[in-house]
């Protein structure tokens, strides 16, 4: 089987949207280079990659959840809670740092499992479940602290600003986890069941596929990724802040839908999401160069989500 040919068919026939996104990235880059001579520089490219790391990781988790046909709206609050816990528990102590990291990873996974469990056993739509847990997590965060809290040991900011082979550490990490997840989805049966569950939940049940396991894994992974993202955020900001994750709920969905994952589930993938992340980050960066207020970024993001979803809905009907 010629893999080049099959990749080509895959891109053109099954994931046509991906080519569009890559095309848009190209066009935006070109536009940026024309309007500003600082845009096309190596340091700006590195800057974009550095800034995109937390978003990429959060969106990765969100992708799996959305493929199952669900959604995780608690993710922003989870990032906030994990980041204040990380720096708060660490309080500058290198040993406590490891304890804190393990704690938030476990907590993130646990919250995801609770989200999945509530939607399975209480039969409440994930939209509502995660909206609820999101509010609870934000409340706990604010009870814990209302200001930036704690600090990280020296050298922790290497995570945010360090380089591997000239690339930001975070960007390399991002690519590794995305590739691992892509392989999981493609090579491990459970990965395929994630698609099947999102495609037709009743059918999956009739076939005896492990629907509950699928949901526990997807939401658990999503919660854990929120915790991982908070590690990179804290590395960048120096300390956890109680509202630091606030925007991630919407912004984690944007790259997923831009990358061609259907909100109704069953179709899509993480590579599309990664392209979506780069597209969104590039756009935000470009808006900075145009000296527009960061508030415009929010407006543009909102528009992108709606446009992207409408484009793919139309695609689905044609099939």
């Amino acid at each position: 089987m010629t893999s080049v040919a099959s990749i080509f068919t895959f891109l053109t026939k099954r994931r046509g949207g991906l080519l569009t996104v890559i095309g848009l990235i190209f066009v935006l880059t070109l536009f940026g280079v024309i309007v500003s001579d600082k845009f096309g520089t190596y340091s700006n490219a590195v800057n974009i990659l550095e800034q995109s790391t937390p978003l990429a990781i959060v969106s990765l988790g969100q992708t799996l959840v959305i493929i199952t046909g669900g959604i995780d709206l608690s993710i922003g609050s989870m990032v906030s809670l994990a980041s204040v816990l990380l720096s708060g528990l660490t309080a500058g102590d290198p040993v406590m740092m490891y304890v804190a990291i393990v704690t938030i990873l476990v907590l993130g996974g646990l919250v995801g499992i609770i989200n999945a469990g509530a939607s399975i056993y209480l039969r409440v739509h994930p939209l509502i479940v995660t909206l609820g847990t999101g509010a609870i997590l934000q409340g706990i965060t604010l009870l814990y602290t209302q200001t930036p809290i704690g600090k990280m040991p020296k050298g922790f900011d290497e995570l945010a600003y360090g380089r591997v082979l000239g690339l930001p550490l975070g960007a390399v990490f991002t690519i590794v986890v995305f590739v691992v997840t892509a392989v999981f989805l493609r090579k491990v049966p459970l990965g395929r069941y994630i698609y099947a569950t999102g495609d037709d939940a009743v059918g999956a049940q009739l076939m005896g596929l492990p629907r509950r396991k699928v949901l526990f894994v997807a939401y658990g992974f999503c919660g854990m990724m929120a915790a991982v993202a908070s590690i990179f955020l804290v590395a960048r900001l120096g300390a956890g802040q109680p509202y630091t994750g606030q925007n991630f709920t919407l912004t984690s969905i944007t790259p997923v839908v831009v990358g061609g994952t259907l909100l109704s589930g069953g179709r899509g993938g993480v590579i599309g999401t990664l392209m979506g992340v780069y597209l969104v980050s590039l756009l935000n960066n470009l808006l900075n160069f145009l000296s527009l207020s960061t508030h415009y970024q929010l407006i543009v993001q909102g528009l992108i989500v709606i446009i992207a979803v409408s484009v793919y809905v139309e695609n689905k009907r044609k099939v």
């Binding site: 493609r186 090579k187 049966p189 395929r192 069941y193 037709d200 059918g203 009739l206 076939m207 005896g208």
Partner: protein, 496 residues
């Protein structure tokens, strides 16, 4: 292979099965027949482990079993091909075939090329040419069914259950299916074959078990039966008693609605159809032939991509449901629960739903007027319920259907469209609904019925339009309506 004794199953408000027996041997094709609502699907789902019986025992392969889940039944060698396929449209053919039984390769990961290869082999054994890499969403219904059968071949299947397999395929495909089933039988597989088409049972099956209203009627050798004796077992009375007399022949009745070259993107192609006052017109054809889509287009529920609709001298190139209602068209959807009735609300609310103006005064709902109307309609259509405030949810399918008829008959002065009006309704209620439909026609309405049940089309309709693959392949008038003509039109290839 399988022995079911004294199995009963209730759902809230319905006794789906009571005291049912079924015995299927290895190496036989056993037909399971009965009217809609006789309990065939429930029984199938119990055998497949989807439902658990309230009472009774299931013995499979020499052991008493209690399936906790479909997976357990599947592991024991039971494979069900449901009427609604269990296929995942966004996965490829090969991925669907091996879903749950992935072909493993390097480091126990999914081996995509072996998956593809093995899928191609299985499809080859079935004698069909289907690309293993195609998305299931891109396949025709017949090919999707072949994928379903290929799925059964992946496992060492001991009992194969097919629920209405030929409802969606025709001609050569049916022959192919039968050949495959006979080969499986000769390999010692037990097969339960559920079908409404009696001629298939005579052609294919060894024994037949009849269910009626959730109860066991008889198990017989197929050879010992005739068409008529089987029908009378199923229905419990003679078919002809079900239908009211047709509209008198020889009168010309005015056309109330005529559709010219109506197309619905990808579903209906240039359909021409005329509906006449005082007649029951049937749209016949296979499931998926575009009947529902055409009806929806007439009602404005789906956008027309071309064509026009003329109603009483006015011509429309665009139709919307509100415009259709204003012009006197009503539509009773196939899915009563999802798209028709507000299940949690009472009878009165449901009846007045399409015509709130008639029960309002200067913008305020007049509840006593609503109740009065409901009372008279309940009487008019003989709806069995606890009065205007009875909950629709707890009523039988037939009575729910009557509530919908009552609603639409209030606003529909010209055309009433009924999509599968007797689906899931018992025989007694069917006769009632047929009578009501005939009365509506006699009042001067044009009634358009979509039905997959051949006896219903033949027994009730004054005129039949047959569709295949989105095209109207023929019109049959009085004296021409018979099973052979309809099937021929429904299955013939497009002349192009």
């Amino acid at each position: 292979m399988l022995t079911i004794s004294k199995v009963s199953k209730s759902f809230p408000g319905v006794k789906a099965l009571s005291d049912v027996h079924l015995e299927v041997k290895a190496g036989e094709i056993h037909a399971l027949v009965g009217e809609n609502g006789a309990g065939k699907s429930t029984l199938t789902r119990i055998i497949a482990g989807v439902h658990q019986p309230d009472e009774g025992t299931i013995e499979f392969d020499g052991e008493i079993v209690h399936w906790a889940s479909p997976a357990a039944a599947k592991a024991a060698g039971i494979h069900v091909i449901y009427q609604e396929f269990v296929l995942f449209p966004n996965l490829t053919v090969a991925e669907n075939i091996f879903l749950g039984h992935e072909r493993r390769g390097f480091m126990n990961g999914i081996d995509h090329s072996r998956t593809r290869q093995d899928a191609a082999d299985l499809l080859g054994r079935l004698g069909v040419k289907i690309d293993p890499d195609a998305l299931v969403a891109e396949l025709s219904v017949a090919d999707q069914q072949m994928v379903e059968i290929a799925k059964a071949l992946v496992h060492k299947v001991k009992l194969l259950i097919l629920d209405e397999p030929t409802a969606v395929i025709a001609g050569h495909e049916v022959e192919l299916l039968f050949g495959r089933l006979r080969a499986l039988r000769d390999d010692g597989v037990a097969i339960i074959y559920i079908s409404h088409r009696l001629e298939e049972i005579f052609e294919l099956c060894d024994r037949v078990t009849v269910l009626k209203d959730g109860q066991f009627v008889a198990t017989e050798q197929v050879e010992a039966m005739t068409n008529d004796s089987l029908v009378s077992l199923m229905v419990g009375r003679d078919m002809s008693e079900l239908f009211p007399p047709k509209a008198p022949v020889g009168q010309t009745r005015p056309v109330v609605l005529s559709a010219t070259d109506v197309s619905v993107k990808g579903r209906v192609h240039n359909a021409n159809i005329e509906l006449r006052a005082g007649e029951i017109t049937a749209l016949s054809g296979m499931v998926g032939a575009g009947r529902t889509e055409l009806a929806m287009a007439l009602f404005g529920g789906l956008p027309m991509s071309s064509g026009q609709i003329a109603i009483g001298g006015e011509t429309f190139r665009k139709m919307t449901p509100s415009l259709a209602i204003e012009k006197g068209i009503g539509l009773l959807t196939e899915d009563r629960k999802g798209q028709g009735l507000a299940m949690l609300m009472d009878v009165a609310t449901n009846i007045s739903a399409s015509d709130l103006n008639s029960v309002s005064k200067s913008g305020w709902l007049n509840h006593s007027a609503e109740q009065d109307i409901a009372k008279s309609e309940i009487e008019n259509y003989r709806i069995a319920c606890r009065g205007p405030q009875g909950a629709v949810l707890t009523m039988s399918g037939g009575n729910q259907q009557k509530v919908l008829v009552a609603r639409w008959a209030r606003t529909s002065k010209k055309v009433i469209i009924m999509d599968e009006p007797t689906r899931g309704v018992d025989v007694g209620a069917k006769a009632e609904i047929y009578r009501i439909m005939r009365e509506l026609a006699a009042k001067g309405l044009a009634v358009l019925m979509i039905s997959s049940e051949m006896p219903e089309v033949i027994g009730l309709a004054d005129r039949v339009f047959v569709m295949r693959e989105g095209v109207i392949t023929g019109e049959l008038g009085a004296g021409q309506i018979d099973e052979q003509r309809i099937i021929q039109l429904a299955t013939q290839k497009r002349a192009s």
